[in-house]
């Protein structure tokens, strides 16, 4: 039978069956509808988040007449009338950038080690260890930060300054803690990206007489780079959204993470600052409905949503550039 004949026979069979009621077909059709609805629920959930947070967020501008420039350019925050986010925004910026810059080299190094260098027998346990690390809840990191990192930062910084200037709370402790939290995120994604590079790429490089490091640097890493970048961007979103672990060590004060002036240590780290997420966490308790504070906190939430969405768009761009997956 030719293809056309088969198609003809097929459509004839369908026509013959289509008029009859069949429980089997009813189940099949309703299942299709049900599964599609469940997929729609996922999209609806995203809309639910954006619409509801957004509907509260815009009241800052319409009801309380606080301008966006005011939020960004003022650093005066008293949670009643003045809502300058400059200090918190710079805190978040500093936290995210430094965290990712410190942890990315370690993460990629770790990923290269696990995927390329480690002997076979330790690869699986090490991967397991990294995944275990990924699963540790942020409260536990926060608690450790409070018990270990804050005293550590206090001792080191005071001995460096030569006087008791610091209590240990603030952006430095937050950066240390979040660096550890971002590390496994970037590592696991980088491992997958490096593993996805086909063997031929390595073999070709080694056959040309390159050493293992030359192979990694000139052949494997460039091929895996888009995947690694996806991991780095996801690390950025994790650092950006991290709340509880930071809350334990940040100290919660609306001031710049550090100030620079002409007296002795020149860069003075603040004893306690804040980032956008911890600002939400600490202030929401006092916020009551129909106050400017309440609306401003939702505006901050919406800002976090937008920044995260942009990050995801960037990571999807890198993902689309991936050649090997």
């Amino acid at each position: 039978m030719s293809k056309a004949q088969i198609q003809q026979a097929d459509s004839a069979a369908r026509l013959a069956g289509s008029g009859k009621f069949s429980l089997k077909k009813l189940f099949d059709d309703s299942a299709t509808i049900y599964f599609t609805i469940c997929a729609l629920i996922v999209i609806a959930t995203l809309l639910l988040v954006y619409v509801n947070i957004g509907s509260q967020a815009y009241q800052t501008f319409t009801q309380w007449h606080i301008s966006l420039t005011n939020l960004f350019t003022s650093n005066n925050w008293d949670a009643v009338n003045n809502f300058g986010l400059k200090a918190n925004f710079s805190g978040t910026l500093m936290l995210v950038i430094l965290t990712v810059f410190i942890s990315a080299p370690f993460s990629v190094g770790m990923a290269i080690f696990i995927a390329e260098i480690a002997p076979n027998w330790i690869q699986a346990p090490m991967r397991g260890a990294v995944e275990l690390f990924l699963g540790i809840p942020s409260v536990i990191f926060g608690l450790l930060g409070l018990i270990v990192v804050v005293p550590f930062v206090r001792n080191v910084m005071n001995s460096l300054a030569g006087a008791y200037l610091y209590n240990g709370y603030g952006i430095i402790a937050a950066i240390i803690i979040v660096t550890f939290m971002v590390l496994p995120t970037i590592t696991t994604i980088s491992i997958d990206a490096i593993r996805a590079v086909p063997r031929e790429i390595r073999e070709g490089s080694l056959a040309l007489g390159a050493t293992r490091w030359q192979t990694i640097r000139n052949a494997v890493l460039p091929a895996a780079l888009p995947g690694v970048m996806t991991g780095v961007i996801l690390g950025v979103t994790r650092a950006l959204g991290e709340t509880v672990a930071v809350a334990f060590v940040i100290g919660g004060a609306e001031q710049f993470p550090f100030t620079v002036n002409a007296t002795a240590p020149f860069i003075h780290f603040s004893n306690g600052s804040d980032v956008l997420t911890t600002l939400l966490l600490f202030n929401f308790k006092e916020a009551t409905n129909n106050t400017p504070l309440y609306s401003v906190l939702y505006t901050i939430s919406f800002m976090l949503l937008i920044i995260s969405a942009i990050m995801i768009a960037i990571s999807r761009y890198f993902a689309s550039r991936r050649v090997y997956r």
Binding site: A39, V49, G109, A129, I136, L144, T243
Partner: protein, 310 residues
Amino acid sequence: MSSIAESLVKTMEKQTQVRAARRQRAKITNQVMNGVFWLVAAIVLSALLFVLGYVVLNGYSYVTVKFLTGSDFATGIAPQLFNTLYITVGALIPLFVIGVSAAIYVSEYARQGWFLNILRFASDTLTSVPSIVIGLLGFLLFVTNFGNGPRWGFSRAAGILALTILNLPWMLRAAEDALRAVPKDFREASMALGANKFQTVTRAILPAAIPGLVTATLIVAGRIIGETAALIYTSGEAGPTAGWFTLNPFFAGDTLSVHIYSLFADNPTTGAYQGRLATAVLLLVLIIVINGTARFLGQRLHQRFSGKKA
């Protein structure tokens, strides 16, 4: 004439020397970088061991029978254990039903196209939403009536719904992985026997994917148990001391993770040091057991379908 030949030989010799030196240098760099990678791995691993070791070694002695069964805010953990169980199971039910169904749609029904793209973008964007924002959303929708007066108040139900929103994309992704791990032959064999799509899904794919789906559920359970920020303003950070042994979904109460935070928020510097560490030990052990089981099952599944070790 001979001078030209001589200089030619000289340049060639020189080139060989340069090449040999370069080769030597490359070998040394290779050795050095090897050492660097071993060092990085050692640092990262020791950091992990430190985290685990510090919490467990300092906290295990505070985990006593009295601590596990007591319900006092700072010295007992029984209400938190019950709430954690309640909220985890409560959130896993809608997550499993919606997440697995949506995953079935993605892996079995969807065609490449704009709808699938939107779905993937929605799911990716949803994973990026900071959990504190989901907490504030839960406060808006479930705890209060859009801020105007109370709806359910701080309650387990509000916490469960906030966690459902937070983990839906993770469940979708994990379940999709589990379904995609089922070999194509299963689908083709079932279709070839005359089964329709629904029969193929329910009788061929789902049974084969069960271990994978269990793994996915466990991974999400681990995320739920460790979640704090989304719960502080939905199920509340207050620790109930009486009347907590109830299935009432509108009862408020903190989970193990939130408990660590509320002990901290209650008294940031000194208070309830022992209670915090002991709760952290319990939480860590729970998470490690759950994630370990998930990993073990995942490997078994991989072996079953691929016939080789992971």
